[in-house]
Symmetry: C2
Subunit: 349 residues, 2 copies
Amino acid sequence: MEIKFIKREKLKEKPLGNLGFGKYQTDYLLYRDYKDGKWEDPIIAPFENFSYNPSMYVLHYAQETFEGMKAYRTNEGKVLLFRPLENAKRFMRSNERMCMPVIPAEEFLICVESLVKIEKNWIPSEKNSSLYIRPFMYATDIGLGVKASKTYRFVIICSPSSEYYKFEPTRIYVEDYYVRAVKGGTGEAKCGGNYAASIIAAENAQKKGFSQVLWLDGVERKYVEEVGTMNVMFKIAGKIVTAPLDGSILPGITRDSCLKILKSFGYEIEERKLSIQELIEASKKGILEEAWGTGTAAVITPIGELYYQGFTMKINNFEVGEVTKKLFEHLKSIQFGEFKYLDWSYEVK
Amino acid sequence: MEIKFIKREKLKEKPLGNLGFGKYQTDYLLYRDYKDGKWEDPIIAPFENFSYNPSMYVLHYAQETFEGMKAYRTNEGKVLLFRPLENAKRFMRSNERMCMPVIPAEEFLICVESLVKIEKNWIPSEKNSSLYIRPFMYATDIGLGVKASKTYRFVIICSPSSEYYKFEPTRIYVEDYYVRAVKGGTGEAKCGGNYAASIIAAENAQKKGFSQVLWLDGVERKYVEEVGTMNVMFKIAGKIVTAPLDGSILPGITRDSCLKILKSFGYEIEERKLSIQELIEASKKGILEEAWGTGTAAVITPIGELYYQGFTMKINNFEVGEVTKKLFEHLKSIQFGEFKYLDWSYEVK
């Protein structure tokens, strides 16, 4: 694999002020086409529009996958990625599930690193800001028969971004009608269809004054799965409880990191089925102590309230809990290189 | 709504021989953009590539829906659509589920009819061939936050097509691992994500020598849902049995048409839950008499064999059954205008 580079004539102006999330695009992108059963060499090219035939397969049958990563600037000006190999491996698993060709983890990493190196001046230095990295792949065959496409495009784009949410307690609506995923479906894969399916519930919840939904399992509508597009954790009577990775839940890298950090803090972790009824009981007994969502974009989102079928569970008096805060600060300090933990930080040199 | 027309300088050569399915593209397409909360006027333009920003929402979160329809040429040279209002209404329902803007059924019909009128010379006159019509819509916002897009493009493309499958018995693998849809999910909507999720099971089945899979329900993995991308019907001891439209099944227009025709033939219809165990018992007793799939692309697909966990159910000696054949012929004769039935045929003048 050899990466080609096409230089642009003039660099863009960097944006000032609140960057938002995924709003601005950097000077370059990387793309790599798959055809005749193999990957061509990647090309780093000026960020410009692509051209497509309206019969392009992805527009009809949604054969598409993605990843989300961030590049952080440390106080000393170093550039760090956070556990990028985990993204590379999950991308492989997502593509297998969706019948799409796999990019070896090592090549994926080289692609990400090469683009970030070129775009390093786009990594914001404001507190809690970072360069969001979006690797994605989609089917590019021309035609309408339903089958796996034979051609694909892999792309990486970058976007300088501020915090996704403010770090403050959110109100969450427990969804009892719509379902995000079911075992045997695509819930474990990071594919577009999961997100498209989830939009209506989030919009309905927002109309009612909630910021996200808590998903229940698709079989019994009973067990807690995820919150919005994040994994979710609870502190109940001192223990940390989260849903197990049993086939319908996205194996979040932030989820895994949080569990490892919490273990190192000495907390007992329970990865197990947790019913909404158990949460209600815990709330009534006063032992539902904290709750938060975990994800790459938002990092940690504190949950201050859960609403389920007429019953409101206030959590920690609608204040950010101690563990939630400690976890957020600790995770950020690792991501921004203030604290070295295992081999989680990967320096782009 | 006023449709603009951009004429192309030179028309394409029409293809000869086997047309395949969705392979060839006609001279024109129709597109219509949604922005600032409303639909702009549709444009019929030469079929050419579109240009897109790699951040386009649909490539990341699969907010996309589609329909499938056909235009038929009668022996007298008339052009017929088959129950197009049903497609228009289903498209509205799909878009509501996916949080996308709705096109009023009447405007949808005018768009389809206007394009078919211009492309009428592309409707093949070979037996069982037709002009496949693909209306679809996708999210075009630029950005990476997960929410409903605010801009969309609606497109109609046409493709002269031969039969999707040969009308002969197929071998079907009963899928017991992967799941197509679950109630509360998107199974009722004609959205890309359902199709992307289904590919792996179809590819695995094909590797084992089957042509499609039979999907079981996502909750109990017990009840028959659909076959491949079609609805499915069984003749058991003289009665016609098919899965009810209970939230996880696509409400097929061919399905509905078949049920109405079969009723008019005098058959008793049962829309009810049908377990795979009941099918096995019926097969053992010799009363599983016929089985077939129904859909716009393939019309009727005879099923000659079902394979479930080591047990093979041969159906009607792997020959096309009497009802299957009669249904296929009758449906085609209505679609091609040889037989008028209710108001199902819509003439494009």
